[in-house]
C-alpha cells in the first residue's frame, strides 16, 4: 500500500517536473473595450501554447472557441491561462461570449 503511494507520488513528481521542464511558450491576449487585442494571434503549429488572456475591462468576459474547444470565464480585471494545442495548421476562431458582436479573433497556427 505505502509502496504504491510512494510510486504514485514519484510518478506525479516526475510528471510535473517534465511538465515544468517543457513550459510552453506564452502568448498574450488582451480584452479591452469588449474587443480582443490583437485580433489575430499567430502561433506555431504542432506546439502547445500557453495563452494568457488579460481582461482589462470592468466586466467579466468568457473566452470561447468552438474550433479550439475552449471556454473560460475571465473575471473583470483578471488574467486567465488557457492551454491550446498542439494545433494542426489552420485558422481557429474565438470570441467573447458576453460581447459577441465586438469581441472576435482568430488563432492562426502555421
Amino acid at each position: 500500500m505505502s509502496k504504491s503511494v510512494a510510486l504514485f507520488a514519484l510518478l506525479v513528481m516526475s510528471a510535473t517536473s517534465i511538465a515544468s521542464a517543457t513550459e510552453p511558450p506564452e502568448v498574450r491576449l488582451v480584452i479591452r473595450d469588449h474587443r480582443f487585442v490583437p485580433t489575430e494571434l499567430k502561433v506555431p503549429a504542432n506546439t502547445k501554447i500557453k495563452l494568457m488572456v488579460v481582461n482589462q475591462d470592468a466586466t467579466p468576459e468568457e473566452f470561447e472557441s468552438h474550433s479550439l474547444n475552449r471556454e473560460k470565464i475571465v473575471p473583470a480585471g483578471a488574467k486567465a491561462t488557457v492551454y491550446i494545442g498542439p494545433l494542426k495548421p489552420g485558422r481557429y476562431d474565438f470570441f467573447g461570449e458576453y460581447n459577441e458582436a465586438t469581441a472576435k479573433g482568430v488563432v492562426i497556427a502555421e
Partner: protein, 278 residues
C-alpha cells in the same frame, strides 16, 4: 436586447435539452416532476452561488479552478447518467410492460430519480451560472436596462419552449421502442458530457489532446449554427474535437452499452423474476 435574448436562449437550451431527455426517460414514473422541479430549483440556487464565487473558483488551483470545477461537474453528471442507464436496462422493460399503472412502482422509481435530480441540478447549475455572470457584467458595466430583463425573460421562455417541444417529440416514440430509444439518448448525452469534461482537462493541460483537431467536419455541420448547437447539447457533437475527447466519448458509449447489456434481464427470465421490493 437581441444579444441577451440569444445568449440566455443558448444557455437555457442546453439545460432544457438535458431536462427534456431526463423527463422523457422517466415517463410514467410517479412523482418525477417533483424530482425534476427540485433539480431545477437546486440548480438555480447553485448557479447563483457559483456565479458569486466565480472569482474564487477562477483563482483556485493555480488558475485552473474553473477547468477542474467544470470537469468535475460534467463527470459527476456522466456517472449519474451512467448509473441510471444501467438501472433502466434492468427495470425499464418492467416499467414499459406496466405502462399506465405505475403507482406501485413509485418507491422503486425513486431510486434512479435521485440520480436524475442530480443530473438536472448540475446541468442547470452549469448553464445558469454563465447567465448570472453575464447579467452581473451587464449590471456592473452600466449597460443594463429594461432590455436586459426583457431579453433574459424571452431567452428563458424560448429555451423552455424548445425543451417542451423536444419532450413532446420524444413522447411520440412508440412505447415498445421508448425505453430503448431514451436510454440510447441518455448514453449519447453522457458520452457528450464526458467529452466536454475531456475538453476542460485539455484546457487545463492535465490531459494531452492526442490530436487537435482529430477531424474537421465543419464543412458539413458547424458548431455555431442552431443545428450544431442543438446536437452539441444532445449528443455532444463537435466539428473539431480533440483526440482525447473522442476517446472519452467512445469509452463511455462502449462502457454504458456493455453495462446496460449485462444488466438487462434475460428475456425468458422476465416472467419468473419477482418484482424487487426496494
Amino acid at each position: 436586447m437581441l444579444a441577451i435574448w440569444i445568449l440566455v436562449f443558448r444557455e437555457v437550451l442546453e439545460a432544457a435539452m438535458i431536462v427534456s431527455i431526463v423527463a422523457a426517460a422517466t415517463r410514467g414514473v410517479a412523482g418525477r416532476w417533483r424530482w425534476i422541479g427540485s433539480g431545477i430549483l437546486i440548480g438555480c440556487a447553485g448557479a447563483g452561488l457559483v456565479a458569486a464565487g466565480a472569482e474564487g473558483i477562477a483563482g483556485a488551483l493555480s488558475g485552473m479552478g474553473q477547468e477542474w470545477f467544470n470537469a468535475g461537474v460534467l463527470l459527476a453528471a456522466t456517472t449519474t447518467l451512467g448509473w441510471h442507464v444501467v438501472w433502466m436496462a434492468r427495470h425499464g422493460r418492467q416499467l414499459a410492460s406496466e405502462a399506465g399503472r405505475f403507482g406501485a412502482d413509485v418507491s422503486e422509481g425513486r431510486r434512479p430519480l435521485t440520480a436524475l435530480l442530480a443530473v438536472v441540478a448540475l446541468a442547470v447549475l452549469r448553464e445558469g451560472s454563465e447567465v448570472v455572470l453575464f447579467a452581473y457584467g451587464m449590471l456592473a458595466g452600466g449597460s443594463a436596462s429594461g432590455g436586459l430583463v426583457t431579453g433574459a425573460v424571452l431567452g428563458l421562455l424560448s429555451g423552455v419552449a424548445a425543451g417542451v417541444a423536444m419532450y413532446a417529440g420524444l413522447l411520440r416514440i412508440p412505447m415498445r421502442h421508448f425505453f430503448r430509444a431514451t436510454n440510447g439518448l441518455l448514453i449519447l448525452l453522457a458520452a457528450g458530457l464526458a467529452a466536454a469534461a475531456a475538453g476542460f482537462l485539455n484546457q487545463a493541460d492535465v490531459l494531452p489532446t492526442l490530436a487537435d483537431p482529430m477531424w474537421d467536419s465543419s464543412w458539413l455541420l458547424t458548431d455555431d449554427g442552431w443545428l450544431g448547437r442543438a446536437l452539441h447539447a444532445l449528443v455532444g457533437y463537435s466539428a473539431q474535437p480533440t483526440g482525447m475527447q473522442v476517446l472519452f466519448y467512445l469509452s463511455i458509449v462502449v462502457l454504458l452499452t456493455g453495462g446496460a447489456r449485462l444488466a438487462a434481464p434475460r428475456r425468458d427470465a422476465i416472467a419468473v423474476v419477482p418484482t424487487p421490493s426496494t
